[in-house]
């Protein structure tokens, strides 16, 4: 069987916040004042981040992952497609995963179809096309009414895929995006079209819609435990409903890793970047303290039935990832895995086996982490973690998915 696929995800955080950011500002999202942007220090920042992704390609990662965020210090890619275009010219082998374009924030999905088709051609067919609904902060950025976002989202995906697969010109009759002439040039290089990935937070609606269309489901949760396994099982079950057979490559998860020579050394080196990430970048999203915008009645995009299910298990004031106090608690959340190559390999292997996922989307750069540390961690991972992970995951998948033996390693 094909081994687990290992991707390098870069969020491109703003790394030059003042020391007293957490005391002075209630969020790192939407209203975090852009007067904090330091022109002199930030000069060359995109170059540094792009170079790290190019390095990931040289190290043999299966791909590079980018995503879209607006008006925040967590991720400086309002347009991930621009970074993807740069990567298409500077990388050779890895997939370019844009996860994704937030469709309800785009005036017209045809533009997304066009840009993704360009990226697929420019990268010689290496694009993985991700589409996202957008979370709480995004709703406030462009004032997108949340209850309509899902309807807009699925109409837009269907229109994009139809644009790629059906000969034009054709007319699209839709409630949200009626178009008289759909006839996009260029067409994507991959046939029938670039793979489609859809992130979701375990809601039934997203699983149903993605499974029905045969798209890969990517769990957007940052913490992993029993619920990660349950999500994979739920997706497998939903696929079966539509006569599709689950393979580990239909499901992906996000996690973060820092590798160094020893467990102790890894903590010392990553400490500053990780806590900058937890305290500052997650403030406003996945941190309870301050002004959180992630979910709730202010951004009511889930159906009332799903919301009732959420409320039943909701604990008022419960801490989130960004509230993590110490290394021990961080370890329990299984979100950020820090340690020696052996430690990281064992934990990731256990995660792959439990969650039965074939796509690990791994964040290596945290907050204000120095370039040399991010690169060191990536290199140690590629040289001392990835080989064993690939070999052993291949055996695990062959054992757990015997019916899928036709999924041979790619050349």
């Amino acid at each position: 069987m094909h081994p687990v696929k290992l991707f390098c995800w870069h969020f491109m955080a703003y790394p030059y916040l003042p020391e007293d950011f957490d005391e002075k500002y209630d969020t790192g999202w939407v209203t975090v004042p852009n007067s904090l942007w330091d022109r002199d220090q930030a000069r060359g920042l995109y170059q540094e981040y792009i170079d790290q992704l190019v390095y990931a390609d040289e190290l043999g990662f299966d791909g590079m992952v980018l995503n879209e965020h607006h008006q925040n210090i967590y991720g400086l890619m309002p347009s991930p497609n621009m970074i993807a275009a740069a990567l298409s010219q500077r990388t050779k082998n890895g997939k370019i995963v844009v996860l994704g374009n937030i469709l309800p924030m785009h005036l017209n999905p045809l533009r997304v179809a066009e840009e993704y088709a360009m990226l697929d051609c420019m990268s010689d067919g290496r694009l993985i096309a991700g589409f996202a609904v957008g979370g709480g902060p995004e709703a406030f950025n462009y004032d997108v009414p949340s209850p309509r976002a899902r309807r807009q989202f699925w109409e837009a995906i269907d229109l994009v895929v139809r644009t790629w697969t059906e000969d034009g010109p054709f007319t699209h009759e839709g409630l949200e995006y009626p178009l008289r002439y759909v006839n996009a040039w260029p067409r994507p290089q991959q046939t029938p079209h670039p793979p489609v990935w859809v992130p979701g937070a375990r809601s039934r609606e997203t699983m149903e819609n993605a499974a029905q269309r045969g798209y890969a489901y990517f769990l957007s949760s940052r913490s992993h435990g029993d619920q990660t396994r349950q999500a994979a099982q739920a997706y497998a079950k939903t696929m079966a409903k539509y006569d599709r057979t689950y393979s580990p490559f239909d499901f992906g998860i996000l996690l973060s890793v820092y590798v160094s020579e020893t467990d102790e050394q890894a903590k010392i080196e990553s400490q500053e970047g990780i806590w900058y990430f937890l305290r500052n970048c997650l403030k406003g999203h996945l941190r309870t303290k301050g002004r959180t915008l992630t979910w709730g009645p202010g951004v009511p995009s889930t159906s009332p039935d799903s919301w009732r299910g959420f409320l039943e298990q909701w604990q008022f004031g419960a801490g989130q990832l960004g509230d993590t106090k110490d290394w021990e608690e961080l370890d329990q959340r299984a979100s950020i895995i820090v340690g020696s190559p052996e430690t990281v390999r064992d934990k990731l292997l256990a995660l792959v086996e439990r969650a039965q996922t074939g796509n690990l989307l791994i964040q290596f750069h945290f907050g204000n982490m120095k370039d040399e540390l991010a690169r060191k961690s990536m290199r140690l991972f590629a040289e001392q973690v990835a080989p064993a992970l690939r070999e052993q995951s291949s055996d695990i998948f062959a054992r757990d998915f015997p019916a899928l033996s036709y999924l041979e390693p790619a050349e």
């Binding site: 009414p145 209850p147 002004r291 992630t294 009511p300 009332p304 919301w307 008022f316 004031g317």
Partner: protein
């Protein structure tokens, strides 16, 4: 009070009724019957003693079905035209609070001949340059995960008033009340998230179409809708009187229920 469903082309609308006499349609807001509260409060009871109160729940609120096609305030007006058809009401008095007042004003400027009297209680709905309606959506989640000070400050006289703490306590509330809050925010965000927030840029220039008597009630400490909106409504409507209520914020009908009910009934009886 009695509540039942009426049918609008296969969609169910939950309507609460009480009393006899002049029909008064009441359109609810957030801290209100069919919003966070499932049961009528002192305001609704007092109004129901004096007239025939008809209080429908907006689409998706309380036990009303969602309307998948609902996108704009115009769709809400058409929804209520059908509700009025189903209730067989040709002429009536119309009252509303918060964004319910906005909806009432939208109906009144389109069908001025059907609305005999119009009572607006802390209505949103207008764009007044430089005086922006506050952002209830931003504050819908607790501050620091544990306090609703921001939301209460917008909806009541201040962040920690007794009535505010009772309506929105600093804890996980009863599931049905939490659901009521979720659903009323969901409805409000459909019509009021864009443009931000809770207004129709065209409404102000249409207010002069309504010529029958109007009462505009305003909380002196309304932190959600600036006072300039009260003046804009009063000036824009042909025959309107402004009544400012001291010691109240945006949710007048729960902050001073008897007083508001008395003012509204006096106005209806004039």
């Amino acid at each position: 009070m009695t509540s039942s469903h009426i049918d609008i082309n296969g969609r169910k609308v939950w309507v609460t009724e009480q009393g006899r006499g002049t029909p008064v349609i009441y359109l609810h807001g957030i801290a209100d019957l069919h919003g966070i509260d499932a049961e009528p409060g002192a305001f609704h009871m007092a109004l129901g003693d004096q007239c025939r109160l008809i209080a429908p729940a907006h689409p998706g609120c309380a036990a009303s079905d969602e309307d998948e096609a609902l996108e704009t305030i115009d769709d809400v007006v058409f929804h209520y035209l059908r509700v009025l058809d189903a209730l067989d009401l040709d002429r009536f008095a119309l009252a509303g609070s918060s964004f319910g007042g906005w909806i009432a004003a939208e109906i009144a400027v389109r069908y001025p001949e059907r609305v005999e009297k119009l009572a607006l209680i802390g209505p949103t709905g207008l764009a007044v340059p430089g005086h922006h309606i506050g952002d209830i959506f931003w504050y819908a989640q607790p501050d620091d995960g544990v306090r609703y000070d921001g939301l209460r400050d917008l909806l009541f006289e201040g962040p920690k008033t007794e009535i505010g703490m009772a309506v929105i306590p600093d804890k996980k509330d009863d599931i049905e009340r939490e659901m009521g809050k979720y659903k009323v925010f969901r409805f409000a965000s459909l019509i009021g998230f864009k443009p931000p927030y809770l207004y129709n840029p065209k409404l102000r220039s249409r207010l002069d179409r309504y010529r029958n008597p109007a009462l505009v009630m305003w909380g002196a400490e309304d932190n959600l809708v600036p006072r300039a909106h009260a003046d804009a409504y009063t000036e824009g409507l042909g025959d309107a009187r402004l009544e400012t209520v001291e010691g109240c914020g945006h949710s007048l009908i729960v902050e001073a229920p008897e007083q508001i009910a008395r003012s509204v009934t006096n106005f209806l009886n004039e």
